[in-house]
């Protein structure tokens, strides 16, 4: 069993989600613009949501709402978790944006390096 399960079509979804996650992560840590960082954070967390939802999917199943014609449903638990996580994500974004707006008022810029210069010059 230790041979790598090279089932590319089986893991393709996860890997794309990971690629998206890492793109978001990269934007967060490499960009100095505060709003860009927040966009990156959004990207990062949305891609994690894609990973979670991928875990809950079953081939040939349908949305987890009881009906008479279907009997195989995808796993509803990841959906619930991600519903909560989406709310948490937007809450964080909102607070971050409010901070950004205040920072712009106080510093006149939202670039990290310019803020640092202004702090040091004091």
């Amino acid at each position: 069993m230790d041979s790598i399960p090279m089932n590319v079509s089986g893991h393709f979804n996860y890997w794309v989600a990971i690629f998206l996650m890492m793109t978001g992560f990269y934007v967060v840590i490499s960009r100095g613009n505060l709003i860009k960082k927040l966009i990156g954070l959004n990207l990062f967390s949305t891609s994690v949501f894609i990973l979670y939802i991928s875990l809950g999917k079953i081939h040939g199943a349908t949305a987890p709402i009881a009906s008479e014609t279907f009997h195989l449903y995808s796993n509803p638990l990841p959906h619930v978790l991600i519903l909560t996580a989406i709310v948490v994500g937007v809450a964080t974004t909102a607070v971050g944006l409010a901070l950004t707006a205040r920072i712009y008022e106080q510093y006149g810029t939202i670039e990290e390096d310019e803020i640092r210069i202004k702090d040091e010059s004091l």
């Binding site: 998206l20 990269y26 949501f49 390096d113």
Partner: protein
């Protein structure tokens, strides 16, 4: 066919994500982020997560984009070139990604029905939730009852975000002495827009109510309804002027609503304790367990909807009033 849709959407997602990293205009980046979340909402639909897709479309594409644009309005809209080569960042990201890929090697294949995730806890939700709780939408049952406590915390999270944004930006009620007709934020020159908005608003609010009360049977629920209701108010404020909106939904009223929503949720839990159950055990609320669950879910969904609506609207107020204050 499903695979084809999946691959197309994933490709689009990758292109959008890469575009976001490259583009310097923040306005474009925000719009692309909106597109990204709309695409991921489509992907969620194709992976059967209709409730999640609904929320993502309403929140990620709607509210988050609106808030970002509002914040852009308060600051710069162009990003500076980074002064250094972010090689270290690239290294960190590649390592993290590699570790994650290594971790997914052992995961069951995508869509595999024999994965452990589908066989331990989830079957009870699917097989018994209709007898134990009632709603045909399993997601609603889990969200409001089995894991209702998470949802209480989630409601408090959005309430906290509302509080935080208001604490940081403050909302100044400028109506004193100023008449509504002189409000410059109203889109005076856009007659068509104003007429269409007035025409549509009742339907938007009606749709929000439908989503709120139909969540048991289809995708939807308090959270999505609250967001839709809030977006109705945002459109109202954009086209008809902030002052008019502030008159219809004053800040104090919204604060009380947000609080009331949280307290309604918590109060439902406390009521269950008073009647001898555990916290949030709705079964004891009604004559039968099912009736109790029904009542409990109705109340907590209402609490969620009210809090989400009020908090989102407060946040929007805070951003949109900042500029002139």
């Amino acid at each position: 066919m499903e695979l084809f849709i999946d691959i197309t959407l994933l490709t689009f997602l990758c292109i959008t994500a890469l575009a976001i990293t490259v583009i310097r205009k923040l306005f474009c980046a925000v719009m692309l982020a909106g597109i990204f979340s709309l695409l991921s909402a489509c992907l969620f639909v194709s992976m059967d997560a209709v409730d999640v897709a609904f929320t993502e479309a309403a929140v990620g594409t709607g509210i988050a984009t609106v808030l970002m644009l509002a914040a852009l309005n308060l600051s710069h809209s162009r990003e500076k070139c980074p002064p250094y080569q972010p090689l270290l960042a690239l290294l960190v990201v590649c390592t993290t990604g590699a570790v994650l890929v290594y971790g997914t090697m052992d995961l069951p294949a995508f869509g595999d029905a024999t994965a452990p995730i589908h066989h331990h806890v989830a079957p009870r939700y699917i097989e018994q939730s209709q007898q134990e709780i009632g709603p045909p939408n399993f997601v609603t049952s889990i969200l409001a009852s089995y894991r209702g406590y998470d949802t209480l915390a989630e409601t408090v999270v959005i309430f906290t975000a509302g509080l935080s944004v208001v604490a940081l930006l403050g909302i100044r009620d400028r109506r004193g002495g100023q008449s509504i007709t002189t409000d410059r934020s109203a889109m005076k020159g856009y007659l068509v827009l104003r007429v269409v908005t007035k025409l549509l608003l009742p339907f938007i609010f009606l749709f929000a109510l439908y989503v709120q009360f139909h969540g048991d049977y289809g995708p939807g629920g308090g959270f999505q309804a609250g967001v839709i209701f809030a977006s109705g108010v945002i459109i109202h404020s954009l086209t008809l002027g902030r002052d008019r909106t502030l008159k219809a939904f004053p800040q104090r009223f919204l604060t009380i609503l947000a609080t009331a929503g949280v307290l309604l949720y918590g109060g439902t839990g406390l009521a269950a304790m008073v009647r001898g159950g555990n916290f949030l055990d709705y079964s004891v609320l009604g004559a039968t367990a099912l009736a109790g669950q029904h009542l409990g879910i109705f109340l907590v969904e209402l609490g969620v909807g009210v809090t989400v609506f009020a908090s989102m609207t407060l946040m929007y107020y805070a951003f949109s009033y900042r500029k002139e204050a």
